[in-house]
């Protein structure tokens, strides 16, 4: 069968290596899957598309899964998406059931990953097939919809929307590219930087700055919290894991994986939303919700299958529409750009071999993750204690090398890394949201082309409403997400007010 040509020893090795490194990144608090992908991106340069993606997908799957280790053993989420794993995992570990809790988490991760992979496999081609018919009008509205969904789900809708538009604004710096049908004129370049910003800021240094350097700066700001020492870590020798734990939990598993996948499909919504939503769903539908948060295995199952469900889901909009589903998949866009491959509705049809290789890579990464973590759990637990003063300097160096080599050696890209590293640190202080910013930055140039070309050919703004039923449906979805978010904000505010009043009355 010619379709399995990509299945070389190198390919399998890269998946295994990626998964292992990903698990390690995930397992060390303060280091995330996104960081792992950002740091390893330059390595994919000379690997070719299939092998490069194999490494990155391994990192992604491993990174999301690894977060459960410190979440359970120390009560510290290794990645943001394993916050809810701490709720029930840590109490179990304190009871001496650490190993059992870890294995429950690992099995749930595998199930979540596989279910979402199946969703990706069946759903992405169908969505892409549908999206091929989109004209510039619909494509513009899709981007607009992606931005509103993200903003609606951010902490603060206005600031989320603002961040998204700020990302678009930064992306427009430079030339209005002739190759996309622009007129080749320059705009928005600060005086004195014309030479460097001809084509604006490059994507990868921006991403590496925001997700690599900014994370390190944040850790440095709080004094580089000391790592855990080995003696704090108790796996618990006498906890027997049995598959019986999963009895009666099939609904929970499937529901949580489904929620994770769905959240992944929504553009720009990260893993923490996936696990929080599935955890809440498991809690509300449970017969004894009060046992949650005290070491109920169902909580770990919900959280871990939810956040691993994200992995396949987040790839759906990336591969069918060219819109990244979360921060890590935004970095994957960088990998495609490096190889000169365009992601969008035509991707799967034009690159069937790459599509197959991605699916197989994710499948193998999930299996590898399971085997490595399930059988080597005691070893992995020690990774949590690797000191940061050894890792972070090396990561900083990797960030620099990544930024430098991305465009074959341009020092300005390294400075871009620094600029956006500091910007990323500043953004959290100003409560700006990095995820919408990144999506805006990535999609800004396309949004411009789609918008301007639609107006050039139709000559009226009404075309955005009347072009087709899809356009109207998209407007309905955009309005729905905005109204929904306003209602959610109101309800939250009312709830907080009620709580404040309840506290005021003794």
């Amino acid at each position: 069968m010619p379709i399995l040509e990509f299945l070389t020893p190198m390919y399998v090795f890269l998946i295994l290596a990626g998964t292992l490194v990903g698990i390690i990144f995930g397992a060390i608090p303060g280091m995330t899957a996104t960081m792992a992908v950002a740091v390893c991106l330059p390595l994919t340069y000379s690997l070719g598309l299939d092998n490069g993606l194999a490494l990155l997908l391994g990192l992604y799957v491993g990174g999301i899964s690894g977060g459960l280790v410190p979440a359970i053993l120390l009560g510290i989420p290794g990645t943001p998406s394993s916050i809810t794993t701490t709720f029930d995992g840590y109490p179990m570990a304190q009871r001496g059931e650490g190993e059992k809790a870890l294995r429950i988490g690992i099995v749930s991760s595998l199930v979540g990953g596989l279910i979402s992979l199946a969703a990706l496999f069946f759903f992405a081609p169908a969505l892409a097939e549908f999206a091929i018919k989109f004209s510039y009008v619909e494509k513009f509205l899709i981007i607009f919809f992606a931005l509103t969904v993200m903003a609606a789900l951010s902490e603060d809708m206005l600031l989320g929307i603002f961040s998204g538009f700020l990302g678009i604004f930064i992306s427009l710096i430079g030339v209005y590219d002739v190759t996309d049908g622009g007129n080749g004129e320059y705009r928005l370049i600060p005086p004195g930087l014309e030479y460097w910003l001809d084509y604006g800021f490059s994507l990868l240094p921006v991403l590496i700055g925001l997700f690599g350097l900014a994370t390190i700066l944040e850790a440095a700001e709080v004094g580089m919290p000391k790592g855990q020492s080995l003696k704090d870590i108790k796996v618990g020798a006498h906890s027997r894991f049995s598959w019986g734990v999963f009895k009666g939990q099939v609904t929970n598993l499937v529901r949580s994986s489904g929620i994770g996948t769905f959240v992944g499909i929504l553009p720009g919504v990260g893993g923490s939303a996936a696990s929080i939503l599935s955890y809440t769903a498991a809690k509300t539908s449970s017969k004894n919700p009060e046992s949650f948060g005290k070491g109920n295995p169902a909580g770990i199952i919900a959280s871990e299958s939810g956040n691993n469900g994200l992995t396949g889901g987040a790839m759906v909009p990336l591969l069918s529409l060219g819109i990244p589903g979360d921060a890590t998949t935004a970095l994957l866009i960088g990998a495609f750009t490096l190889q000169g491959v365009q992601v969008g509705p035509l991707f799967i049809g034009n690159n069937p071999a790459t599509w197959d290789s991605m699916i197989i890579a994710m499948l193998l990464a999930n299996i590898a993750m399971f085997i490595m973590m399930y059988f080597a759990i005691r070893w992995l637990a020690m990774v949590v204690a690797v000191p940061k003063h050894i890792l972070f300097p090396v990561i900083l160096m990797m960030c620099v090398i990544g930024a430098y080599t991305i465009n074959y050696g341009i020092m300005f890209d390294v400075w871009t890394l620094l600029i956006f590293g500091i910007f990323g640190w500043l953004a959290t202080k100003l409560r700006l949201e990095v995820a919408p910013f990144i999506i805006g930055f990535i999609l800004g140039p396309s949004a411009e082309i789609y918008f301007i070309k639609s107006l050039e050919s139709f000559g009226t703004l009404t075309i955005f409403f009347t072009k087709s039923w899809i356009a109207m449906l998209l407007w309905a979805l955009i309005l729905g997400s905005v109204i929904g978010s306003i209602m959610l904000a109101r309800r939250k505010a009312a709830l907080e007010l009620a709580q404040a009043q309840a506290q005021a009355e003794p």
Partner: protein
């Protein structure tokens, strides 16, 4: 009514339309945010003072300072031996070591040894990998 939405785009200036639109939206959103959060913004001076007070200044500012020096030195050092990537290698070893020392908590000689080994080995491996295996030029 339909005329109201008519737009014609002049190709010569079409590069300015979208940026202007985005700037307008940012200004509108910014104004709303400023008005809505005026109290928080009025109190931002105190917030920054607090952030600065709590900040681990040596580590935070040290990271930025070392990074800037690292970036500034890399190219001039590299120009001494052009196209060998030695600028990267020579600058990275002290950079990794210094950042490592900066981030350490107990700075005893014994605990520094593994870190110093990594500071020499990691840049060397990366340099070798990029120069000879990937054939990419480093500064």
């Amino acid at each position: 009514m339909a005329d109201l939405f008519k737009v014609s785009i002049d190709f010569e200036t079409s590069h300015l339309i979208f940026p202007r639109l985005i700037i307008a939206i940012l200004l509108v959103l910014g104004t709303i945010i400023v008005i809505r959060n005026r109290q928080a913004i009025a109190g931002s001076g105190a917030m920054w003072a607090e952030t600065l007070r709590r900040m681990d200044k040596p580590r935070f500012l040290g990271t930025i300072a070392l990074t800037v020096i690292y970036f500034l030195l890399m190219v001039p050092v590299g120009d001494i031996w052009p196209n060998t990537g030695l600028g990267f290698l020579i600058c990275s070893i002290p950079f990794v070591a210094l950042i490592g020392v900066l981030y350490m908590h107990e700075r005893s000689l014994r605990s520094m040894i593994p870190m110093l080994i990594v500071a020499v080995v990691a840049p060397a491996i990366v340099w070798w990998l990029f120069t000879y295996v990937f054939a990419l030029t480093l500064p």
